[in-house]
């Protein structure tokens, strides 16, 4: 793990949505950090706030209904939330770019791939408007070749519907990396694809960011993908970070009861049946549980969990967990979530 200065540092971020009938307190004091050159995973189930966090970083949350009552998102020391529009435009694309889950929705169906890629190139290259149309066109070819798409020339003239799902996602990856961003946010980049195609796309993404030294945030609900792609993982539950660890440590020894439940629920290729999963359901954001938001479903719930929100306890150099079970000392309860 690179111990350099943080590239992105989210401090105590809260995001609420004002809707008819009340306020949804979705993010509730989230801390998140990405160091330069690091690949960080963000795991959690549907509706836990993964995508909301990422959209807050790029400031693409719809405001209203979203409001950000407090928090900072520092990108290279500068708070994104306080940036002026023209400064923000420079950060988007050149500083941070994003790959979305569904490439079909991410690409505009009425423009060709070229028509969508060329403005990106023109906007983000240092020469900007001084580039001729020919030069822009030529520069659009390289990223497509980098993502392993044959016949880039023809592809630039194609419309998204003429491409397969895997090709569309490759185009999106190519587009996102064409600006040589310092940070890439990949939101479930393989989820909408078939397994064999997902495998190809993820391997490609892995190799490219390795080559370009791009820092990555990988958002997913598939634990296996995190294990193969990242150095460090954050586990999120109901708008809170609950655990953060070096990837191999999370998988060999998950500490938070939620992480343990999640890990056990994954069906294994080695067989042995499927665990029951976690009882109960995700809380509503309208009136989230007091204290630890996981306490109504937690098998180890204590009195204090109902009253206080647990802070992060450092169990190990690169393993922290927001759970009162680990209060005060580093000796962790061993989780038997390894093989079975």
């Amino acid at each position: 793990m690179a111990a350099s200065a943080p590239l992105l540092d989210i401090l105590d971020l809260a995001v609420h949505f004002r809707v008819y009938g009340g306020v949804l307190k979705v993010l509730d004091g989230v801390n998140f950090r990405v160091n330069t050159g690091e690949k960080v995973g963000l795991v959690g189930e549907t509706g836990c706030g993964k995508t909301t966090t990422m959209k807050a970083i790029l400031r693409i949350l719809p405001v209203p209904p979203a409001v950000i009552p407090h928090g900072e998102i520092r990108f290279k020391g500068e708070d994104i939330l306080k940036m002026k529009p023209d400064r923000l435009r420079k950060v988007r694309g050149r500083g941070i770019s994003m790959i979305f889950q569904d490439p079909t929705a991410a690409l505009n169906p009425v423009f060709t791939v070229g028509q969508q890629m060329e403005p990106v190139i023109q906007h983000t290259s240092p020469e900007g408007r001084r580039l001729s149309r020919r030069q822009v066109h030529d520069r659009a070819i390289t990223p497509l070749q980098e993502v392993g798409l044959p016949d880039a020339e023809r592809l630039l003239r194609s419309y998204p519907i003429q491409l397969s799902g895997g090709m569309r996602q490759r185009v999106c990856i190519g587009m996102a990396l064409s600006t040589n961003p310092e940070l890439l946010i990949a939101d479930e980049p393989g989820t909408s694809l078939d397994v064999t195609i997902q495998d190809q796309v993820l391997r490609l993404l892995h190799d490219l960011v390795q080559k370009k030294q791009t820092s990555v945030i990988l958002i997913t609900h598939t634990l296996g993908v995190v294990r193969e792609m990242t150095d460090r993982v954050y586990v999120m539950y109901a708008g809170n970070m609950v655990e953060l660890a070096a990837t191999h440590k999370l998988f060999s020894n998950p500490l938070h009861p939620y992480s343990q439940g999640l890990m056990k629920a994954v069906p294994r290729l080695t067989g042995g049946g499927v665990a029951e999963g976690i009882p109960g359901r995700i809380p509503t954001y309208q009136s989230p549980p007091t204290g630890c938001r996981f306490h109504p479903r937690c098998p180890h719930v204590m009195e204090i969990c109902r009253e206080l929100k647990p802070p992060f306890f450092k169990v190990d150099a690169d393993h922290e967990v927001a759970c009162f079970l680990y209060e005060g000392h580093g000796s962790a309860r061993t989780a038997e979530a390894g093989a079975q």
Binding site: E45, T46, S164, G166, M167, D194, V195, T196, I197, Q198, D199, Q200, L202, H221, T222, L223, G224, V225, R227, E228, F251, G261, L262, M263, A265, V266, P267, R268, L269, T270, G271, G272, G273, V274, A275, E276, G277, I278, P279, R281, G338, A339
Partner: protein
């Protein structure tokens, strides 16, 4: 391959999607299912695995009588399900039920759980007291009785799927087709549904045709597994044998592509074949063996001739020229 409770024989389903050419108009078809054979034994969980567009759901829809097969047929207890076209006796419909992938759209949002459960009861078991039965069904799927008066949108995704399971059970079926029953749900909920299904199977002596794209899940529920690729079955085997000793190159590719969460699983993942190439469009299926465009072992014969099913070991069947006994002579 005989005396299974459900026998799929030479099943084909081609959908007409348009015409090609001006002078000589040729029909353009999607070969969703293109010559499938397998049989499901009584009491087992038969897993049908494949990627999107492989035709696995089409087989499910044909089996419950939503589509008429283009060729071939399905036998249920040695009775041809399509002897009279799509018309089917009530008694036969009662025996075969289905649970769909997305419970959000398979349950009518304007009906309460009670109405949802009482409808099949009133048709297939009019002699019973519908309310008593609906209550018993909810109990069977471990949902509280108060849920009878709820509408689907008041339930979580997992609970909706339980209602869908209860509805399938309402007719006292002997075979249930589970079409990706948990892929719309989060992992933490999946386990509960799967274990419920396993318990119900044991208690009610059910047979399952379990359709999924998730091989890790299949490992844990299926007794036998069949892999489909572009409308055809590539490999059929007992689950344990299937995962330990995959034969077909496509199966090996699939197994090497799954993201896993432990070193133990990494060890059994086949690393021989790395995924390459795109899945061809089912409108334009490659000649010969449909997998030849992505197969690392491709031979000349694969491009010309479609391989036949070969038994490589007892009960283990693969459709690949690599296993055909002299490969040239076919």
């Amino acid at each position: 391959m005989n005396n299974g409770i459900l026998r799929v024989e030479g099943l084909k389903k081609h959908f007409l999607i348009g015409h090609r050419g001006v002078v000589k108009r040729e029909p353009v078809t999607v070969k969703a299912v293109d010559g499938v054979f397998f049989s499901v034994q009584k009491g087992e969980t038969f897993g049908l695995v494949g990627e999107s567009g492989s035709g696995k759901s089409t087989i499910a829809y044909i089996a419950v009588g939503m589509y008429q097969p283009s060729e071939g047929t399905i036998y249920f207890r040695d009775r041809d399900l399509f002897a009279d076209g799509l018309k089917r006796s009530r008694e036969l419909r009662k025996e075969l039920q289905i649970v769909f992938q997305d419970p959000g759209s398979s349950l009518n949002p304007r009906r309460t759980v009670r109405q949802i459960l009482e409808l099949p009861l009133s048709i297939h078991r009019p002699e019973e007291d519908p309310l008593q039965e609906a209550m018993r069904l909810l109990e069977m799927v471990e949902l509280p009785i108060e849920y009878l008066h709820k509408y689907p949108q008041m339930l979580s995704g997992g609970e909706k799927q339980m209602v869908a399971v209860a509805r399938a059970l309402a007719t006292n079926p002997s075979l249930i087709i589970l079409d990706e029953p948990t892929s719309a749900l989060d992992v933490s909920v999946q386990g509960k549904i799967i274990n419920l299904l396993i318990r119900l199977q044991r208690e009610l002596n059910l047979t399952y045709l379990f359709i999924t794209h998730d091989l890790s899940l299949m490992r844990n529920v299926a007794t036998r597994v069949a892999i489909m690729y572009l409308g055809k079955v590539c490999e059929v085997a007992e689950a344990s044998e299937f995962f330990q000793n995959p034969q077909h190159p496509y199966t090996q590719m699939l197994l090497s592509s799954i993201p896993v969460v432990s070193d133990e699983e990494d060890a059994i993942k086949s690393k021989k074949i790395v995924s390459t190439g795109e899945i061809p469009s089912p409108v334009n299926v490659p000649s010969g063996c449909s997998f030849h465009t992505r197969c690392p072992h491709v031979m000349d014969v694969c491009r010309r001739i479609d391989p036949v099913m070969v038994e490589t070991s007892r009960g283990h069947i693969a459709r690949c020229h690599l296993f055909e006994q002299p490969p040239e002579r076919k």
